[in-house]
């Protein structure tokens, strides 16, 4: 039985977070506001990070093509907003409308990934980049008509950011929300996200779910036992893409804006980094890794904000985030290569 100490990089991050926490509390940031902000940041990012899990477990690698799913989510939201969706039903509809697009994109993207087996990451990253940039063309020419979504001058082309205040901004967050003292508990959001996580957990216990994990853990063994590896991988890509689309809808709902054009271009990197920070030590990633990772990643960002402001350099928080994000991914890449022993 191995000892249950977190690995070294996580320890460093945890100590760093503790140091930031002490500094933040010293400059009169209240504990309750930290907790409230953390809950909001978890709602924003949780599903986006979890969306990476199916693809890792089926052996299709880290989904650097997350923008593919994110763009499907944006498309669903823009269509819903154009038809006048409002309130909680508008939010639910935006998720529902984006799912078919995510499934179609996932099938094509999954087939492409099957052709580049073993080198998925770089191919996925550039598929994501290309998809975001071709959709920029679409946002300009698409025949949407809602005046709150179009540029005020000229009247053609969608705006860079579309405010959701008059649509369904924060509708899920405000649904069934209650307070314990100073702390805001957004029960609606928590139930919605927990339901998605529960469905994923149940799926991993089904026959298909187990076969999918088997394909990732030992491909040749699974193949001998008649598992359709290509099919499993495509299914996992569809799941990841759909989750990314749903995650984007949740993000926009909570954030209050739909961000189009270049906004999703780099979306994959923070999510991948948060997942890796959860510290799974093998080919298999469990939900608990993703959740731990997103908590650590977001608390780091959250706590560095007030400290950076205190130092009068507000950009500092973002810079720390970028540096931590990339170091975590680079560390994980090197560790993965060590395990596979390709460093001959």
């Amino acid at each position: 039985m191995k000892k249950h100490f977190p690995p070294l990089p996580q320890m460093i991050i945890i100590f760093f977070i503790l140091a930031l926490l002490i500094m933040a509390l010293k400059i009169n940031v209240t504990a309750s506001s930290i907790i409230n902000d953390l809950i909001v940041r978890l709602i924003l990012n949780c599903i986006l990070v979890v969306s990476l899990i199916p693809m890792v477990n089926s052996g299709a690698g880290l989904n650097f093509g997350l923008p593919v799913g994110a763009v499907a989510g944006l498309l669903g939201m823009v269509i819903t907003a154009n038809t006048g969706g409002k309130g909680l039903s508008g939010f639910i509809m935006s998720v529902a409308v984006s799912l078919p697009f995510a499934v179609i994109a996932g099938i094509l993207y999954g087939r492409m990934l099957n052709r580049v087996k073993g080198r998925e990451e770089i191919a996925a990253a550039f598929t994501g980049f290309s998809f975001v940039s071709i959709m920029c063309l679409f946002w300009v020419v698409a025949p949407f008509s809602h005046p709150q979504m179009l540029w005020i001058l000229g009247g053609t082309g969608l705006r860079n950011t579309i405010g959701l205040k008059d649509f369904w901004g924060k509708s899920l967050y405000n649904f069934m929300q209650f307070r314990i003292g100073e702390i805001i508990i957004p029960a609606g959001s928590i139930i919605f996200i927990s339901a998605i996580l529960l469905l994923l957990y149940i799926f991993s216990k089904t026959r298909t779910g187990m076969l999918m994990n088997a394909a990732g853990e030992n491909e040749s063994f699974a193949r001998i036992n008649g598992v359709n590896i290509g099919g499993m991988r495509i299914l996992s890509v569809i799941m990841s893409t759909s989750l990314a689309a749903a995650g984007t809808c949740i993000y926009a709902q909570q954030y209050g804006f739909i961000e189009l054009y270049d906004a999703p271009l780099m979306a994959a990197f923070p999510a991948v980094s948060a997942l890796l920070l959860g510290g799974s030590s093998g080919k298999r990633i469990y939900l608990r890794h993703a959740l731990l990772g997103v908590v650590l990643y977001q608390s780091l960002y959250l706590l560095s904000l007030p400290v950076a402001n205190m130092l009068l350099v507000p950009e500092m928080a973002e810079i720390i985030r970028i540096i931590v994000t990339s170091i975590v991914i680079l560390y994980a890449l090197a560790k993965k290569s060590d395990q596979q022993g390709d460093s001959v």
Partner: protein, 342 residues
């Protein structure tokens, strides 16, 4: 059997109609393309050695670009003007590039087979550290002697720094005008010198080692080549080339967007190289030159073509960034598939 790479034809097929619809004069486009050859050739050359050494497209050339920007800022900070300033910036940049290139090369030896995704993330990390040094460090823990460079809060370099003391000094040397088309001969000679240097490097023993490692790493190791060392050397040379490229690029533009000038230098350079018919396994100097001409012709005419055809210039801009990302994605997908068949 030799297969013809369709990429140059594809770019030609896109550029010609776009040029026609843009209604720009041929003079203008030719002048612009000459400027782009001067600005971008070194950055594209920087990609050739890692491709030859079998490491794929080196997206971390933006680290070299940032080293060049750091060199410029040091020179401005110490108020060294004119040719000595250019030389000083190049020297400082090259020193930083060698150090960074060594570190990147060492790291890439640990992630063999996934160098490309690693170099993208190294680029992001490099940009983070660069921002930390110049946005947070300057004026706080790094003393700044030229206060004019600083933001009003006293810490951090301003977003836009003027290179007026150096602007176009080199461009104006031996500038020849033939019927309205301007040939900055000195710069073209410099570009040729860069190409010649690269050619010489590739034909020396070191160049043969690059090719041997690129063709088959295991056999190269068995033949007594220290492959790890060769790969580190490839990345150092690539970073230095990129640094010199960005020095030339910025002296031509005449100012530094301190926090954005390096962005996309990797994507556009890679797209240009691939447009010229290179693959992620094979790249030659002629691919680089042809690629810059084709990619940048398209790049120059698309906004105007978009304006004239759809009365929307943004469309052309989005289209060209799609072409850049899309051509890299296509090259990766086709090459990786092809590689597996062999």
């Amino acid at each position: 059997m030799r297969r013809i790479n369709p990429a140059p034809l594809f770019f030609l097929a896109l550029s010609l109609p776009a040029f026609f619809f843009s209604e720009l004069s041929l003079h203008f486009v030719v002048n612009e393309v000459i400027i782009r050859i001067i600005r971008d050739s070194f950055l594209v050359f920087a990609l050739i050695i890692p491709v030859t050494a079998g490491m794929g497209l080196n997206f971390s050339i933006i680290v070299g670009a940032m080293a060049a920007q750091a060199g410029w800022i040091f020179m401005l900070d110490h108020k060294v003007a004119g040719i000595p300033g250019i030389a000083g910036a190049a020297f400082a940049g090259v020193v930083i590039s060698v150090v960074c290139g060594y570190a990147i090369g060492r790291y890439l030896n640990r992630v063999k087979g996934r160098e490309m995704i690693a170099t993208i993330i190294i680029g992001i990390l490099g940009a983070g550290i660069y921002q930390f040094i110049f946005l947070v460090g300057y004026g706080t823990f790094i003393p700044a002697s030229n206060r004019e460079l600083l933001l009003s809060r006293g810490a951090g370099i301003r977003n836009m720094v003027d290179l007026a003391p150096y602007r176009n000094i080199m461009d104006r040397l031996l500038l020849v005008d033939i019927q309205g088309i301007q040939f900055p001969l000195f710069m073209l000679m410099l570009t040729s010198a860069g190409a010649a240097t690269l050619k010489i490097i590739l034909s020396t023993r070191l160049g043969q080692k690059f090719r041997a490692v690129g063709a088959d790493r295991i056999s190269a190791e068995l033949a007594g080549i220290s492959t790890d060392r060769v790969r580190v050397q490839a990345i150092i040379l690539s970073t230095v080339f990129a640094c010199l490229g960005q020095i030339i690029f910025l002296q031509n533009i005449g100012m530094v967007n301190v926090y954005t000038a390096h962005m996309n230098s990797d994507i556009f350079s890679c797209a240009a190289l691939l447009a010229g018919g290179a693959t992620i396994r094979e790249a030659k100097i002629r691919h680089a030159i042809l690629g810059i001409i084709l990619f940048h012709s398209l790049y120059i005419v698309t906004p105007q073509a978009g304006q004239n055809m759809f009365s929307n210039a943004a469309l052309g801009e989005y289209f060209r960034s799609f072409i850049a990302y899309g051509s890299i994605a296509m090259a990766l997908i086709i090459n990786i598939r092809h590689e597996k068949k062999v």
